[in-house]
Symmetry: D2
Subunit: 386 residues, 4 copies
């Protein structure tokens, strides 16, 4: 299973092609739209999120409500494109090109690196693609992966662990409760006390013209033991998830289970004892390692956290230098979100979903979804009886 | 450029095949052996490190001191194999197989997952491959990558940031000084105060039969701006490095620049202002983002940290369950390291080296090392003049 | 450089995403449309070719006439989709689904294999994707590759060598003359005598309700010496081209230079002597090996031929069996081409173009098209001076 | 499943690492050695084949006669390496390097292309790797793939269809008979009349100092319907086999079923009618398409042919040019085979085996060989009941 995304922030559309899906997979436009909608919510978002209310068009690979195994094309329109047609024209409108040229790179963006690497004198040729708008396409791909996971009894929840210096306290909830509560929280936080403080912090940042990052957590339950493999380093599933998380715009780190805390504790306080019962087979007494040992899933919930830096489009300007005149300027930004962490937790859920679905299809290659389900069921019994 | 590793912890040898090297690359056995030796040092290692003093054999792809562009085969012998020939026999010695069978999975290892996934009733069939012995092969591959980086003026240093609860204080050093000082430190720590405390902590853990993890940092200087790319998520170089780091045995997290701290700070305290001078061209006033923006290198030093959990082979036993009898047992281990963090920092350096060399060859495909160097030089001038 | 295609024969559109293009590449919709138009011409085509007059829409990756390095989205609409909306609906219209179900697999198509593999009881779920309509998407991708080749002085021609039993006689023409003459020929044949016979044969086949295959040849000039590599089997360029050719719908074989004739001749009549002159450097006295030695280009023209079987959609029916009733039936087809070989030669040109452009980007650095051109020029001088 | 090969013709050894095998696969050194031995036989081979009698060493991934799922390392020693140690030294023996330098490229080899591409002034740096000696490594990998196929009831035969102008007449034999008879034939030919003529032709060529190529055929029975896929061009299995065949040293073409003959026949004489019976399920009345439709297997035997050009190392010299002096010389060769076609048919069998085993593992879950077998059995029943 593989996919490519394409599309610019102010171009006509985002496009995703997903190749390698099993056939007969019930394909729900509503469920994909739901993930896209979740990505657009969240306290602290700017005005653009209200302009775009993303919906997916399915343009191939699905017939009468099910996949055919042919590549699936998903399109998400950029609703405000009509105002950008000239600026984003594919034709060589040279006058327009000259007039609209952006020569001022923003700190904290791909702007300068991208311009130099690809020899662009118009920084828009970088920023249109490096924009977080692209994450809508990745959410769409992840939402399709979730259709597979759902068929196999695998559930994903995401929530916000911290925004700025406000940290949520851990709460003991079932995954269904996590999903419900995070959905009702404007900042996708499970701890009501922290939620209030986070919202206050966002209000304050907005007032001061500053921005906030934070930490998000993704939990996956129902994952069969033994996805990924220890036999070669590039087949370890936790490492692939690490790549997926760090590749989300503005993410600067990732950790599993205890994560960085594991480096501070003693060995006797880090590992998970092995238990067994006739009913449940092998399991772990705790889940400090976040569902992975040896690059393979243990059958315990996957617990992965990622950190997002504050969005760099600041009201409070940073100094930068014009690429033409070499003059110093203050990189002020007209319009922006002050905190995108709640939305980022939705993105994180969906990129994790993709990796798990892919590793599922690597362990249980499947031309039809029924074959996959049958295999997973049979394997689960085998794990139980081991 | 790609590579495969093979070999078990107590088999005859580790083998690495590296395919896609440029020709005419000066190929130094000494430099590879040096990296292998560095991996075997470090305060807190167990006895095996003294048994094995790894040396590489070069069995293809190199002639008269230079690469020919043909695949390079590297072999590292396991010196104590002679004592393991029967236990590790490839022939079907069924009696031996039955006698030597291990049915007791250790917590914190790949043992149980691997046994169930691959249906092994002898856990040795898992642990021989999941052993950290394999990192010697990855170090060898990374050491070859360093030969390329060296030709292009790219330097890598690694050091230990913390062991258990002892954290080193940041020190302002050039990369050459870092390399020197960490090499002289038994725990690869740049801060002499912390070094002493770390050693004391290791002594104490050893006495208590416990083990310690910690955090390592890798710094890379001289990296050209623009490695990696923002155009598609799977081409972001920081994300690939994240995969490489998390795939090291026992690593549970990775972060770049400020890392998780970036989630706590305000936006105005996270990003790096852009500066320019005629002599140096574009640059950054600070390097909080650790050398990456938009998945591309900024030209500033790459700064990446990884966290290693304490090694799970504990004197102080954890409970586990026999896969045959289903009896609970205490997973005690005869012989082990109590802290492998210094060695892990060497592994981290070398897996990062591989990723950077590979992305260099993706940006500047090169059939000969001279073409590569010429291209890098020319591009650096172009970056300067932008 | 990679691409994915999506889309069904009677769905709304074909979609192509191309990822990994250099930036600053002049991007001509006209040139892509020209290749699409060429694919639709040819004596012996059925009515559908007159319905569809393919044009490409560029929906990402191009701005003001040049690539930005971001993924390029190309869309080719299926003009008659309006009549197929219900049959090809993505929604679960169960009544429609039942009514329109196809249970009769056609011999010579993917119908039966695809239905069984993917467990489709409606064969349309296979045939919509396995249709040769998909080759329009591959032509579009190849046309983009040609934009790169053109910048580097690489030229591609294709022509029809035989249709049924009529074989063209070899004619000595420059590549420009080949392009002109094949373009003017209704059957893309360079030999005017054979051309007439081919057309007569097609007329006769049509009358008899039969169909014709044939052999096409692709010639590429201006290819630098040394694309591909001998160092690992999966890097040989001729072998990759073989995959590309055989993957075209209905192609059953491929050969280079003398091809199968090389198996009949003696060694002294097969190889190409090496010559050298100060002006031209190294070259070959002949080109019997079709531009390849050791999986690498020799600098001589690439000459590759592929064979297409007659299209299986026959007026003259073959026996088959209904997948539901298991009743035998005669697989008659309402409407079809009787000979698609001229069009197939256009497809072959364009899939070869892709492979060459890709191998060019594997050998030469190319974040921008100017870097690529500069490198190719510099390398050509180096080859000359060797 | 993937593999890398390494090693030079006169270096110490060939090395293969195979990654991705299922566990519990019975692993027979004898069966691999048998394939290696078959490759070394054949009327018309030169003296070297008597020097080397290849045997494989298994250095990882196998324990007590079965795979563990860890990467398998196979080594084939070059027995005459002792005489080549200085010429093939990895150390910078500069005097030796200068003395032994080869500056005379042979026509029909990778020599000149490789030297220019990789900037080698010593052509040995090319020819050691481009040598057909490397096919021993590919045969070893294919022999491992055959272990998988054998478990799944898939059988492979190869034979020689023509040598020079002598063509074998088709004979109706079961695959077991083909295997027996070709094994007994000095030229691996099924037709006893042609066999005699082929041997006479080889004798004559040897006397005249000339060489011969020919055509080989590989047949695979027991392949489940539906390997490969029509949904994306790069997943078609016939096309992958085409790449594998053309990548064999000296191969210039490949065809399936009727192959090039399909271009000459009318549609009504090319396709295979579909039949059905309660006992056998769906099948084909004939097998003109060689076991493939739509890039997928039909369940009928795979029939693929490849053409090998005469080996270019001729007694009868071709003109070439010294890369240093630019003087013309006659490329005479001291020692060589006059016909390697019988051996090439063994290589062809084994590279086809690899592709089929790989596509089997892409379609069916297989962390263990038992899972694979169970799945294949279950799927075969499903195909029967369709």
């Amino acid at each position: 299973m593989r996919y490519l995304t394409a599309g610019e922030s102010h171009g006509p559309q985002l496009t995703v092609i997903i190749e390698g899906l099993p056939s007969q997979l019930p394909f729900s436009k509503e469920k994909i739209d739901w993930q896209l909608a979740r990505r657009q919510k969240g306290y602290g978002r700017g005005r653009r999120m209200q302009i775009e209310t993303d919906q997916v068009q399915i343009l191939s690979g699905v017939r009468f409500g099910k996949t055919t195994a042919a590549p699936v094309t998903l399109v998400i329109e950029n609703k405000d494109w009509k105002h950008w047609q000239k600026i984003m024209a594919t034709e060589p409108l040279l006058e327009e090109a000259e007039k609209r040229r952006i020569s001022r790179p923003r700190p904290g963006h791909a702007d300068l690196n991208g311009a130099i690497k690809y020899n662009h004198r118009d920084i828009r040729d970088v920023l249109e693609r490096s924009s977080a708008r692209e994450t809508a396409a990745r959410v769409a791909a992840g939402a399709v992966a979730r259709l597979i996971l759902e068929e196999c009894g695998i559930t994903i929840a995401g929530h916000v662990v911290s925004i700025g210096e406000v940290e949520a306290q851990p709460v003991a909830l079932s995954i269904e409760e996590m999903i419900d509560r995070s959905e009702q929280s404007p900042v996708r936080c499970l701890d009501p006390e922290a939620e209030k403080k986070m919202m206050a912090l966002i209000d304050q940042a907005k007032k001061e013209g500053d921005s906030l990052g934070g930490i998000v957590e993704v939990i996956v339950t129902g994952v069969p033991l033994g996805l990924g493999s220890h036999v070669h380093w590039d087949r370890k599933l936790d490492a692939k998830i690490a790549q997926a998380i760090v590749s989300i715009n503005a993410f600067k780190g990732v950790e599993f289970g205890l994560g960085f805390e594991a480096g501070r504790r003693k060995g006797s306080e880090v590992h998970d004892e092995i238990v067994w019962s006739k009913e449940k087979g092998f399991g772990r007494a705790t889940n400090r390692l976040g569902g992975f040992e040896g690059g393979m899933t243990t059958g315990e919930p996957i617990v992965v956290r990622g950190v997002m830096k504050p969005i760099p489009t600041l009201y409070k300007p940073l100094m930068s230098v014009d690429i033409d005149s070499k003059e110093v300027f203050a990189a002020s930004i007209e319009r922006s979100d002050s905190c995108a962490v709640p939305a980022a937790s939705v993105v994180a859920e969906n990129v994790v979903a993709w990796e798990i679905a892919q590793s599922l299809l690597e362990k249980f290659p499947a031309d039809t979804i029924d074959e996959l389900k049958e295999q997973v069921t049979r394997y689960r019994e085998q794990v139980l009886r081991f």
